[in-house]
């Protein structure tokens, strides 16, 4: 048995859900729904044709100004589908959010960590919110996540 608490992820509807107990095998590593987080940094190198090649490498070390990608991969290891999946990721202090990374759907974003919406729908003191004011992002997965299914979400940012 593993006891899983619902997390306060900023949505009042989800936060209101009570803690529940889910029966699961003891090998917890590959059961349930897993989330794998990584931070990648753009590595620029000169290609043979004279262009600059940009690859993403794990960001063990960064410096101010570096472009980084925060990547979250989920996988449903359960034998049955799940629904209502919400993947949330706070934007760390010292990180300036830019937008969804290439190949990732755009997340809903939040300035205050509580109210989420597309960036264009948010305002700060009556003015349109800027990307660098975003403090948290989340992706709402529509429909069911079948057993064994996985997906990757990521956002691009820079080190302040």
């Amino acid at each position: 048995m593993i006891k899983i608490h619902s997390l306060a992820i900023g949505s009042s509807a989800l936060a209101a859900l009570a803690s529940i107990v889910i029966l699961a095998p003891a090998q917890a590593k590959t059961t349930g729904v897993t989330l794998t987080n990584s931070v990648l940094v753009q590595h620029k190198s000169a290609a043979a044709d004279g262009t600059t090649r940009i690859t993403l490498v794990p960001a063990n070390h960064v410096v101010p100004g570096d472009r980084v990608v925060f990547r979250t991969v989920y996988k449903n290891h359960l034998a049955q589908p799940v629904s209502g999946m919400v993947v949330s990721n706070p934007v760390p202090a010292n990180i300036s959010y830019h937008g969804p990374a290439e190949g990732s759907p755009a997340p809903e974003v939040s300035i205050d960590g509580a109210h989420f919406a597309p960036l264009a729908a948010l305002t700060v003191a009556g003015r349109p919110a800027r990307a660098d004011q975003v403090r948290a992002v989340r992706w709402l997965v529509h429909g069911q996540v079948p057993a064994g299914a996985a997906a990757r979400y990521s956002y691009e940012a820079s080190v302040k």
Partner: protein
């Protein structure tokens, strides 16, 4: 024991004077880079529903360390060409400013050279910030580095001559981060603040400042000095396609003559494209079109009307082009 005590006493005096000097420095408002040694950690979470019940999970926590980036700028705070006429050799100095543009506490090593002088010029800390050398207050750096400068901190410095030059010439000041300098990206493991690594930034962690000086009123009444910096898309100074070149034009009236209707006309180089909106006069942006302000771009050259300039004012204009 006595020798040791004497050294200690000198150090205290030295540090006390430096503390006073550094406290008087302005705090730049633009400095906001994340400090070296800061850990950036991130944990994602997910919630879901399964057969009417809710579940949630959290990810691994990824921790990334912010390294110390080594960067520096040197800035001439005086006129483009310093006049030496009638100066007092005992107190005369040419002021300049060193800024730690990195994100860690860093000391810098300074050197000054002047091929026309038998004795190399020296560098001193302008403790009272008055732009003149006072042996009772200011501190000559005799080969030792500056004290540690906080990120964004500026240090007022002075270039001094053993004997005042008797003709026109130029000196060169070079400064380097003490931790290391060289090609951007050069890595110094474990040498950063709070146990972080140190990495050389875009400035190569070194800066060179040419200082021109003149004697008498001979020569032209105005001098135009043009310099450039290149910023490639990959952050280096390589003049490749897509790199942005920032040109700096400094016009100085030099002969005691008031210039009227001064105008700079500078064609952009072949193989480049003017960056719209990039013209600045004394760090203030002006428009590209021919209108009420002093600048415009005619499709081939920038025109800057500077009006009347009385000696020894310097007017500085910058604009940018992109290498095609």
């Amino acid at each position: 024991m006595v020798a040791s005590k004497t050294v200690s006493s000198k150090q205290e005096t030295w540090l006390g004077a430096l503390a006073a000097a550094l406290l008087s420095l302005p705090v730049p408002h633009a400095q906001a880079a994340t400090l070296a040694g800061t850990a950036v950690s991130n944990t994602a979470s997910a919630s879901y529903q399964m057969e009417g019940a809710s579940g949630s999970t959290t990810s691994n926590t990824v921790a990334t360390e912010v390294d110390e980036i080594l960067d520096i700028t040197l800035r001439n705070t005086g006129t483009e060409t310093v006049r030496l006429d009638g100066r007092d050799a005992a107190t005369f100095a040419i002021p300049f400013v060193l800024t730690n543009t990195g994100n860690g506490d860093e000391a810098f090593q300074l050197e000054a050279a002047d091929p026309s002088q038998e004795v190399a010029p020296t560098v001193a800390i302008d403790v009272d910030g008055n732009g003149a050398y006072d042996p009772a207050v200011d501190i000559t750096l005799s080969g030792q580095p500056t004290p540690l400068l906080a990120p964004g901190a500026q240090l007022n410095l002075l270039l001094r001559f053993a004997r005042l030059p008797t003709g026109a010439g130029g000196a060169t000041i070079t400064a380097r981060a003490e931790t290391g300098s060289g090609a951007p990206g050069t890595f110094f493991a474990g040498k950063g603040d709070r146990g972080s690594d140190a990495v050389v930034g875009r400035t190569r962690a070194e800066a060179t400042l040419p200082i021109a000086y003149g004697v008498g009123s001979g020569g032209s009444v105005a001098q135009l000095i043009k310099s450039q910096t290149v910023r490639a898309p990959d952050g280096t100074a390589a003049p490749v396609s897509g790199a942005v070149v920032t040109y700096r034009l400094a016009l100085t009236a030099g002969g005691g003559t008031v210039l009227s209707d001064a105008e700079i006309v500078d064609p952009i180089p072949v193989g480049t494209a003017f960056v719209p909106g990039s013209i600045q006069i004394e760090d203030i942006a002006v428009s590209d079109v021919a209108d009420a302000d002093a600048a415009f771009f005619d499709g081939a050259a920038i025109h800057i009307a500077l009006g009347e300039i009385s000696q020894p004012t310097t007017r500085v204009v910058t604009f940018q082009v992109t290498i095609l």
